[in-house]
């Protein structure tokens, strides 16, 4: 499954044109300065706001974060079976990453700037910077794979499209409850669209080394006035604290424990709606 990309070139050209107008405007004589020409990037949908998770789908289905629902490659399945929860870097305060990050029950915010869009999350104090096409920025070098990868974005009509690559290997980069890893081939495409107080996200995750088929799912978030609770300020000693509770004779393989906690499965529309309503009360 793919997410369409129409208008990408148009957006890029629009941004370049916007930049050119800025330069021309700066050089214009005082006479011409009386006539205010439009400057800056092309009109963008207003997505700026703070959001709380509401539903996960699509179509009322559960989130894809159930191992048996995912089509893993042989490598992906072997890695999952070999995974021990105790080796998860989250126990050393490593940040959550897309796509698991999209399902985390924390609030987050979008800040739209001229040349970039900044995603700010309560979870793990995460800041993701999306560089808008047509504006200069430093591209990652050959050695610059990172936890959150490198994100490009563009506006496509009423949508913001974000494409992220250059992720580093992540032991739970596909699914952070069951321990499905992602490789450096992970590529995540996000499309955001706002409708009133609802923000819709379509997300496609590809990783040919781990996934036989890309994972596609949709989220809905509720916009609200409440500020984010920051900082998260993860404490290293506190993060690894629970690992002492594992029985060393039994290990911590989730494959041996039947996958995710029964309390957390399924994480479907009704459950997330219930949680969202509870959070708003």
């Amino acid at each position: 499954m793919s997410i369409r990309h129409p208008g990408r070139q148009r957006a890029r050209l629009g941004s370049v044109a916007g930049a050119a107008v800025c330069v021309v405007g700066a050089l214009a004589s005082p006479v011409f300065a009386q006539e205010q020409l439009p400057v800056g990037p092309p009109p963008a949908p207003d997505l700026t706001g703070r959001y709380a998770p509401l539903t996960c789908g699509p179509n009322g289905a559960t989130c894809p974060f159930i191992v048996d629902d995912l089509k893993l490659t042989n490598v992906g399945r072997k890695m999952w079976e070999a995974y021990e929860e105790i080796i998860g870097p989250k126990f050393d305060c490593a940040q959550a990453t897309p796509p698991s990050l999209f399902a985390d029950p924390f609030r987050w915010a979008i800040h739209q700037l001229t040349d970039r869009v900044v995603f700010e999350y309560e979870k793990d104090d995460i800041i993701r910077t999306v560089w808008l096409e047509g504006w200069p920025h430093d591209e990652p070098g050959a050695y610059d794979a990172s936890w959150q990868g490198h994100s490009h974005g563009y506006y496509d009509g009423e949508e913001l499209v974000v494409v992220t690559t250059r992720y580093q290997y992540d032991p739970h980069g596909i699914e952070d409850f069951g321990g499905i890893p992602s490789s450096t081939q992970k590529r995540v495409t996000e499309r955001y669209r706002r409708d009133g107080d609802r923000l819709h996200l379509q997300a496609l995750t590809e990783d040919p080394l781990i996934l036989e088929e890309p994972i596609y799912f949709e989220f809905e978030y509720l916009a609200g006035p409440d500020p984010l609770i920051l900082p998260y300020d993860c404490q290293l000693d506190q993060a690894r604290f629970p690992t002492q509770y594992a029985d060393p004779r039994r290990g911590t393989s989730l494959a041996d424990f039947g996958g995710r906690d029964p309390d957390l499965v399924p994480l479907g529309v009704s459950e997330l709606e219930r949680r969202a309503r509870q959070a708003e009360e």
């Binding site: 929860e85 105790i86 998860g88 989250k90 126990f91 305060c93 959550a96 985390d104 029950p105 924390f106 309560e122 979870k123 952070d176 409850f177 069951g178 609770i229 998260y232 300020d233 993860c234 404490q235 506190q238 993060a239 604290f241 629970p242 690992t243 002492q244 509770y245 594992a246 029985d247 060393p248 039994r250 290990g251 911590t252 393989s253 989730l254 424990f257 039947g258 995710r260 906690d261 029964p262 309390d263 957390l264 949680r275 509870q278 959070a279």
Partner: protein, 127 residues
């Protein structure tokens, strides 16, 4: 003192309490068993990713064991009105939850905490 949750009627009055986290709990806490403890709070670390309440519990042999009650993330709890001084040393509590697997430890995945005056610690939380 370690009690079975079903023994006491007031357990039915308790509200759902904080438990979930960003990692699987099953390898660390027995999800099929629920126990209750009663003891005196010695410390409350209200920090992310998991606040921990330390409780001295006198066991059936008369010895004092330190139990640690682990909660969901502090961010979600703070949104529900929790704060670092919501409970402190010297307070008597009764708590229920899933016990840790490692027999060398006294961990509890906290589900419900009741203060001595009968009030539930914090607001009900699930995240």
């Amino acid at each position: 003192m370690r009690l079975q949750a079903s023994m006491i009627g007031w357990a039915a009055l308790l509200l759902a309490a904080p438990l979930a986290a960003h990692h699987a709990q099953a390898p660390f806490f027995d999800q099929n068993t629920e126990v209750e403890i009663e003891g005196i709070v010695t410390r409350f670390d209200f920090r992310n990713p998991h606040p921990v309440l330390y409780v001295d519990v006198t066991n059936d042999s008369g010895d004092v064991e330190e139990w640690q009650i682990q909660f969901a993330n502090a961010t979600g709890l703070r949104r529900r009105g929790w704060h670092k001084d919501i409970i402190g040393p010297g307070e008597r509590i009764r708590a229920s939850g899933h016990p840790s697997w490692n027999p060398e430890t006294h961990g509890l995945q906290g589900r419900r905490v009741l203060k001595e005056d009968g009030s539930v610690l914090g607001a009900p939380v699930e995240d």
